[in-house]
């Protein structure tokens, strides 16, 4: 479970998050929406332990950030719009390297890497250098990297950025089948601008506006068409609806 209480983050005198309160239950898929600059990425970086909150409290699986950051990091898998991979290494070398960093036991490492490559459909390209991969293949490998250590929480930071229609559809499939997000196996937070995909995957939606949670609710309580309207009203956009 993720608990965020009165979270404030300022850069200099500029407040990005102005007191965010949020609770994400175990197995929940939260789509985190908001316009550019609303603080989505900052929020995710705080959850990852890459940025420190100015004030407030963040608990992940009962551990507090940034005090118990090692325990938190063991539980996190991150997929970002950046690949977080090494171009000059092969797919297999990349996964082996991260398996060592995440202390996947040496005896299981090879099998785990092979299984992950198979699950994301890259087993035939295991020995290929990442430089030769398409954007979609890189993103599939990024998912394999994020799931290597079997994290309980998956953070997805605009994972669809730069993907074509086919690659995005494949990512949908991987999130559902490989990452097990629909079965509630993992707790997932995804930032995205794609409202359709947010509705498709998420069990809950949070809309960040002017550094605060402007809307929070389950997707089951709305229709596909309602989400854009709720979004526009929350962020104060002009709407044609």
């Amino acid at each position: 479970m993720i608990e965020i209480e009165s979270l404030v983050k300022t850069f200099g005198y500029f407040p990005v998050l102005r007191g965010v309160d949020l609770k994400v239950e175990r197995g929940q898929f939260l789509a985190f929406l908001g316009p550019n600059g609303s603080g989505k990425t900052t929020m995710l970086r705080i959850l990852q332990g890459l940025a420190k909150p100015t004030s407030g409290r963040v608990l992940i699986g009962g551990w507090e950030i940034p005090k118990e950051t090692f325990a938190v990091r063991q539980q996190l898998g991150v997929v970002s719009h950046l690949p977080l991979l090494y171009d000059s290494l092969t797919a297999e070398e990349n996964l082996l390297f991260f398996a060592r960093l995440y202390d996947v036991p040496a005896a299981e490492r090879g099998d785990r890497v092979h299984t992950m490559l198979q699950q994301v459909g890259l087993d035939k390209r295991a020995k290929s250098v990442v430089q030769t991969f398409s954007r979609g293949m890189v993103q599939r490998l990024a998912i394999a990297r994020a799931l290597l250590h079997d994290p309980a929480i998956l953070l997805l930071d605009e994972p669809y950025t730069g993907l074509d229609v086919d690659a995005a559809a494949l990512l949908d499939h991987l999130l559902t089948e490989v990452a097990g997000v629909k079965d509630g196996i993992r707790t997932v937070i995804m930032t995205t601008h794609d409202l359709g995909r947010a509705y498709q995957h998420a069990t809950h939606v949070a809309i960040l506006s002017r550094g605060k949670i402007g809307y929070y609710g389950p997707t089951s309580a709305m229709t596909t068409d309602e989400l854009p309207r709720i979004y526009a009203e929350t962020v104060g956009m002009m709407t044609t609806a």
């Binding site: 090692f70 063991q74 690949p83 070398e93 060592r100």
Partner: protein
């Protein structure tokens, strides 16, 4: 380092696995150094640039300074260390910038590892690349300056000097990597900090090559050892703060 275990939230429905709270220290250092060497062995972007720069710099020095035998012996130590410093700076900038640009620096910082282990892992890679430049320069300068640099004590000075340079350089490059004009910022920040290393390495090399007595070069080597040790310790304590956002 720590072998403390924890039972994190898992995806498993069975008994949760006991995991170490953080990855063993030397496993991280070795993995990161291996990764850098493997990536460089395949791409050769950094080492090729450093070696080419070194060859060009030494050729320019050799043709620009038309010196007699005695002057060559007195100058070659300076040429060696100036070239190592500039070629090394070129490599350092690339080493950290590559991590930052692909987001892989974040991937490293996300892992449950001691940050200082990341520092030593990066430092080892940078040290070996700088050392490769140093050893190439020994061959080049021996030929172009007609001074025998194949002396065990000089090799020791090169190892110590490159170690100090890589340690300091990795630390400073980690600071400048977040800046917008990092290519310009790195030499401006680095060169004043590495002065004690360059001065002691140059003095020790020159004293050795001009056949001065042991007491003329030994104190400089001792100073080099002390400076290396101080920067190695500084990396351990400061890296966490440097990479903190």
């Amino acid at each position: 380092m720590s072998a403390t275990t924890t039972t994190p939230e898992t995806t498993s429905t069975t008994q949760p696995k006991k995991r170490r709270l953080r990855t063993p220290y030397f496993q991280v250092v070795a993995s990161l150094a291996w990764k850098d060497l493997r990536a460089e062995a395949r791409g050769r972007e950094m080492v090729n640039a450093m070696l080419l720069f070194s060859i060009m710099a030494v050729l320019i020095f050799s043709f620009a300074l038309e010196l007699d035998r005695q002057a060559q012996e007195a100058t070659v130590g300076g040429v060696l260390w100036v070239t190592i410093a500039f070629a090394g700076t070129l490599g350092l900038g690339r080493s950290l910038a590559a991590e930052k640009d692909k987001g892989s620096l974040d991937a490293l910082l996300l892992a449950p590892v001691e940050r200082s282990a990341l520092f030593y892992g990066k430092m080892i890679g940078n040290f070996l690349f700088t050392l490769a430049v140093g050893f190439l320069l020994v061959f080049l300068l021996t030929v172009l300056f007609n001074v025998n640099l194949f002396r065990p004590v000089l090799w020791l000075i090169i190892v110590l000097g490159c170690l100090g340079f890589a340690t300091t350089g990795t630390l400073v490059a980690s600071m400048s990597v977040h800046a917008r004009a990092r290519e310009m910022l790195l030499p401006i920040l680095l060169l004043p900090v590495i002065l004690p290393i360059i001065i002691s390495a140059t003095r020790a090399s020159t004293a050795l090559l001009t056949e001065l007595k042991t007491e003329d070069w030994l104190p400089w080597i001792q100073l080099l050892v002390v400076v290396d040790f101080v920067f190695l310790l500084a990396g351990f304590f400061l890296f966490d703060f440097i990479v903190e956002e």
